[in-house]
């Protein structure tokens, strides 16, 4: 099975850095024609139009015809699923002290079985 389509959901749509840039732009300036986005991103126009097409398909933006230009607008509320999902982890970095203490405890427990001291293949992952 290949990777899911970029238009399969908002999570896939915003995985593209350029599309996030477009979203940021549209959040600052309420309405933007494609040309303005092209200038701001420095991407070729077809590339921008394709990104906008993806954002359109997942409902993250809407278009309004205005003369010969298409003015895009952000539908902020479509970002809510992402916000709601990631918000559930908020508490874990909000109470860092608690977390660090917990980790220390766990480490002490896990240390009952002590790995290491061989030819060493892969070290365990490290994080902050």
């Amino acid at each position: 099975m290949p990777r899911a389509s970029t238009t399969s959901d908002v999570f896939n749509a915003i995985a593209e850095p350029r599309r996030r840039q477009i979203i940021e732009l549209l959040s600052q300036h309420r309405n933007l024609a494609v040309g303005a986005i092209v200038l701001s991103l420095g991407l070729p126009q077809p590339a921008v139009s394709k990104h906008l097409g993806v954002l359109r398909e997942v409902g993250l933006v809407s278009v309004n015809k205005q003369g010969q230009s298409r003015v895009y607008e952000l539908n902020h509320e479509q970002l809510r699923p992402v916000y709601d999902w990631v918000k559930t982890f908020e508490r874990h970095w909000d109470r860092q002290l608690d977390r660090i203490r917990e980790r220390a405890e766990k480490r002490a427990l896990a240390n009952t079985t002590q790995p290491d001291q061989s030819t060493d293949k892969t070290d365990q992952k490290e994080q902050s």
Copy 2:
């Protein structure tokens, strides 16, 4: 240019629904061996190991060797970039009243130059 690697950043890593499920699991149960994740997701073990590899590479999870099993742990703080990014749009749906008030203010400002949709569509500068 093809799509960016799933390991290029957290946004790409969490685009995969199964990886989000793994993250949720690891958030509920602090530590989980691969086998437990396999059971819970109902995915073949190699698939799970590959997803864990992606999450490992972007730093979203850490491993601890414990006997012959690998116990995974979520590094919540790595989700912060996503949270911070999407949080900037919070006001647009969370504080509707504020938002409406803001719009009114902006409108008052923008009213110095009055755009219209009939004859004039040349310079439609949008304020920041």
